[in-house]
């Protein structure tokens, strides 16, 4: 049977091993995006609304961090979580939590940088009205984040895209342990090197389908939201 047909058979037959990998991949990536959003959106809002010496430098640095090399982040997290590292006592290395930490570090700058731009653009539009209504700093942040929520979906999607496609960091800190820390991207890398192309192709198909589905869902939600809220 050709590899692509075998791959399709694996997907359609609901292969347990394949779907365990898919579940773990989604768990790790979505958790990382959630954590990164909790860090990145408030930080982006803070940068958008405040002026302080060195702010431009921080923005340039943040934008540069969007291109963080995953293997470097993986190495740094590995060193931090290894037994002799500062966080070694937590025993997180080669666990899904370590993978979430690494991906959060990769995704947070992307969400923060895009959120900063989105919120700053909206702040320029809203500044006079919110100032005239005597809205305080926290109220401004809450209002801007809420009103920019549909635009911020794009930032979350960019973060999810980065996390879902990432392999360099999680293979270092997760170890690609079968049934425990093996994700779609690490499995594709491994199975390809072993020559088990049907599984690699099958996982690739699922990965692409998930990315398309998530983007389509987000796009639909954004369009519906914009129609409703203007």
């Amino acid at each position: 049977m050709p590899d692509d047909v075998s791959a399709l058979h694996l997907v359609l037959s609901g292969d347990a091993a394949l779907f365990a990998i898919v579940r773990l991949s989604l768990y790790v990536s979505l958790s990382a995006v959630l954590l990164a959003a909790m860090i990145g959106i408030p930080f982006g809002a803070f940068l958008a609304l405040t002026r302080f010496p060195g702010r431009q430098g921080v923005i340039v640095g943040l934008n540069a961090l969007m291109g963080l090399p995953p293997v470097v982040v993986g190495l740094a997290v590995y060193l931090a979580l290894s037994r002799s590292g500062p966080l070694g006592s937590f025993g997180l290395l080669f666990t899904p939590r370590a993978m979430i930490i690494a991906q959060t570090i990769l995704v947070a700058p992307i969400i923060a940088a895009l959120a900063r731009q989105t919120i700053e653009d909206l702040w320029i539009e809203y500044r006079d009205e919110l100032t005239a209504m005597n809205i305080g700093p926290l109220g401004r942040v809450a209002t801007l984040v809420w009103d920019a929520r549909f635009s911020l979906v794009t930032a979350l999607l960019a973060g999810f895209g980065r996390a879902a496609a990432e392999v360099g960091a999680i293979i270092i800190v997760g170890g690609n342990i079968e049934g425990f820390t093996r994700t779609m991207t690490t499995a594709i890398a491994l199975e390809t090197s072993k020559g088990d192309l049907p599984l690699a192709v099958g996982l690739g198909m699922v990965l692409i389908a998930i990315v398309i589905a998530v983007n389509a869902l987000a796009w639909t939600a954004r369009r519906a939201g914009e129609r409703w809220a203007g």
Partner: protein
């Protein structure tokens, strides 16, 4: 119940606003007191918008002092403004008003009733659930008026609220302004439409090149302007 005109008088004492070498308002001494609407008139660039932003507290003068009811640096608790192009929050018309009511500290239990009253005042009760940004220009201006009134202001500043509206929409906005004036709220409004100034004004302040050219009761100003600039402006001549 609030004390009427708690923010009044708004007093400008030798106020100058400069941006670099350009003087936008020059040594302005002026007072807005309780009573009929005060209309600020003058050609584009005469400083009307800057004056309103100062009066609202959105801008600090380069020199001079501004006080509200005798207090300087007073938070704009009983002041409200409608900009020439108001920004609608990305939510429904009703939610825009409820937002302003919450910001003004109106208890949650009262917000629905107050929101309904304000929408009715501006004739938008049927559009409460419509996205505010989807409303027409005239409807947005009326919604902006309702949102400003949600603050229960003692003084309401309006920056050319009918500048880009057709006659029907202009009449609707002017009707609301008249209604507001009868509610013990001081209206200070900028316009370069002399017809509108005649229809609405109790007092006129004419600005030209950042200075007060003439300040008088509307009838006196239109019947017997005292300065050459005012006479020229009323005659429809171009002031440069």
């Amino acid at each position: 119940m609030r004390a009427p005109f708690s923010e009044l008088p708004v007093v400008f004492d030798g106020v100058t606003v400069a941006a670099g070498a350009v003087t936008i308002l020059d040594n302005l001494t002026l007072e807005f007191t309780p009573g009929a609407p005060t209309l600020l008139i003058g050609p584009n660039g005469s400083g009307k918008t800057t004056l309103l932003r100062l009066a609202m507290g959105l801008l600090a003068p380069s020199r001079g002092r501004i006080s509200w009811g005798g207090r300087e640096n007073a938070a704009p608790l009983k002041r409200a403004i409608v900009f020439q192009r108001p920004t609608m929050l990305r939510r429904s018309a009703g939610a825009n008003i409820r937002y302003a009511l919450r910001a003004a500290g109106v208890p949650r239990a009262e917000r629905a009733r107050r929101c309904g009253e304000l929408l009715e005042l501006v004739g938008l009760e049927a559009l409460a659930d419509r996205a505010a940004r989807k409303l027409s220009g005239g409807e947005q201006q009326r919604l902006a008026l309702a949102r400003a009134l949600a603050r229960d202001p003692a003084v309401l500043f309006l920056d050319e609220p009918t500048a880009s509206l057709d006659p029907t929409a202009t009449k609707a906005v002017e009707d609301v302004i008249r209604e507001v004036g009868q509610r013990n709220i001081k209206v200070v409004m900028a316009t370069h439409d002399l017809g509108e100034a005649r229809r609405l004004a109790g007092d006129i302040v004419m600005l030209h090149r950042g200075r007060v050219v003439e300040a008088a009761a509307a009838s006196a100003f239109f019947d017997a302007p005292q300065t050459a600039a005012a006479r020229a402006f009323l005659a429809g001549e171009l002031l440069v």
